[in-house]
């Protein structure tokens, strides 16, 4: 087995360097280019003769198109799905996932990516490394699975409505237990349009559950960034309230309007009993 040298993050290499394609002879390229040129000139002449000065087709930009789809807040014709928009804020590439016509809930245990009822899923609350249990208060369909305050951010789901906030004590925990709702805690990122500072200083891919222009969206940054840098980018994006979701390579996927599965990050090989997700299902 031949030795493979180490590789840096900024490098790429073709794995099997052997057996490359034989390049076609140079004259063939000239011949093809010549034929192509003649065809293009002929087509142009025909078009000019038939249409005169026809206006050029508009040049569309993929990102602008995505943004406009997202900002227009969809039409009623769309089925339950997740709208995806890319943008760059403060030099950070961000992806905005907007579950549309979908009902939120929490789920504990493994999820099936082939379940077409799910239009968005991402891991929600962190798990303890020592015993695999959920960190902080957690309510699943009215049943408290975990108690305690470890992180000040919270998400409550009551009557299919999501509330994102930052508080050491929230009455929404009790309401969730009484009304069959859902509740979990995470690091706060944005409170009332202001960035919330957090202590962890490691850089990692980040995800956040946010309120943006009155809509619930999930914003993801695949680059490795500090928590505070990501939170500041959310503020610049216009997010009013946000908590982080499990970042790094935590499992997540969604379904677009045409039913395509988009894997944000594949299933983790070591999923645990209390692995939990925030899930948006078809309405």
């Amino acid at each position: 087995m031949k030795h493979v040298r180490d590789i840096n993050e900024d490098e790429i290499r073709v794995v099997g360097g052997k057996g490359g394609r034989r390049r076609p002879p140079r004259w063939l390229w000239f011949a093809i280019a010549g034929i192509f040129l003649i065809v293009v000139i002929a087509v142009l002449v025909v078009l000019l003769l038939r249409h005169g000065n026809a206006p050029e087709p508009p040049v569309t930009d993929t990102v602008a198109t995505l943004d406009s789809v997202w900002l227009s807040n969809t039409s009623d014709d769309l089925p339950s799905c997740t709208l995806i928009a890319d943008t760059v804020i403060d030099t950070l590439p961000l992806t905005i996932y907007t579950p549309y016509n979908a009902v939120p809930e929490l789920h504990v245990g493994n999820l099936d990516t082939t379940d077409s009822e799910i239009v968005f899923a991402a891991m929600a609350a962190d798990l303890r490394k020592d015993n695999g249990k959920i960190v902080g208060a957690f309510v699943l369909a009215g049943e408290p699975l975990s108690w305690g305050l470890s992180k000040r951010g919270y998400c409550a789901i009551l009557d299919n409505q999501i509330t994102i906030g930052t508080a050491e004590n929230s009455p929404l925990f009790e309401q969730a237990t009484e009304q069959g709702g859902y509740f979990f805690r995470q690091y706060p990122a944005v409170e009332g349009g202001q960035m919330v500072h957090n202590n962890p200083q490691n850089a990692a891919p980040r995800r956040a559950l946010c309120t943006l222009n009155g809509n619930i969206v999930i914003v993801s940054c695949n680059s490795r960034v500090l928590m505070d840098t990501f939170s500041q980018a959310l503020v610049s994006l216009g997010v009013s309230d946000a908590i982080l979701l499990v970042g790094g390579t935590a499992e997540g996927w969604c379904r677009t309007a045409d039913g395509n599965l988009v894997v944000i990050s594949p299933k983790h090989p070591k999923s645990k009993k209390y692995t939990n997700h925030i899930v948006f299902r078809r309405q």
Binding site: V4, D10, E11, I12, V15, G17, D86, V88, S223, L261
Partner: protein, 119 residues
């Protein structure tokens, strides 16, 4: 004729046609194979060891695979979108899309490589 990739450790074995592998990611001493069937397999091998096996076993289709940085190997046939400035790389087999990230410089090199293949 299909070329098969066989990854065998002391406890398990994965055998798959090379064209069925969309990408391979690494998590320390583990490598995860994402297949077109939607299945993922996690094998206790480092990505460098997997790269050597690809090189050794796939005489014809080995060059379909591209190592990007320390933690990713992709099958070039499934590349659908590269944006170096956004550090975005999307692989798709027509049924599902997979977003991966890599350094800007690596993605720029990848884009140049694919561009060059066209010329």
């Amino acid at each position: 004729m299909k070329e098969y990739l066989v990854i065998s450790t002391s406890v398990e074995l994965v055998r798959t046609p090379s064209e069925g592998v969309i990408y391979i990611t690494s998590d320390g001493n583990y490598s995860t194979f994402m297949l077109t069937s939607g299945t993922t397999y996690t094998i206790a091998l480092q990505l460098g060891q997997v790269e050597r096996l690809l090189d050794k076993q796939l005489a014809r289709t080995g060059s379909d695979f591209i190592r990007i940085g320390k933690s990713l190997i992709i099958n070039r046939h499934y590349i659908t979108y590269i944006n170096p400035s956004r550090q975005q790389l999307t692989l798709s087999d027509g049924r599902s899309s997979h977003n991966q990230t890599a350094s800007k410089e690596a993605l720029k090199q990848l884009k140049d490589l694919i561009d060059k293949d066209l010329k």
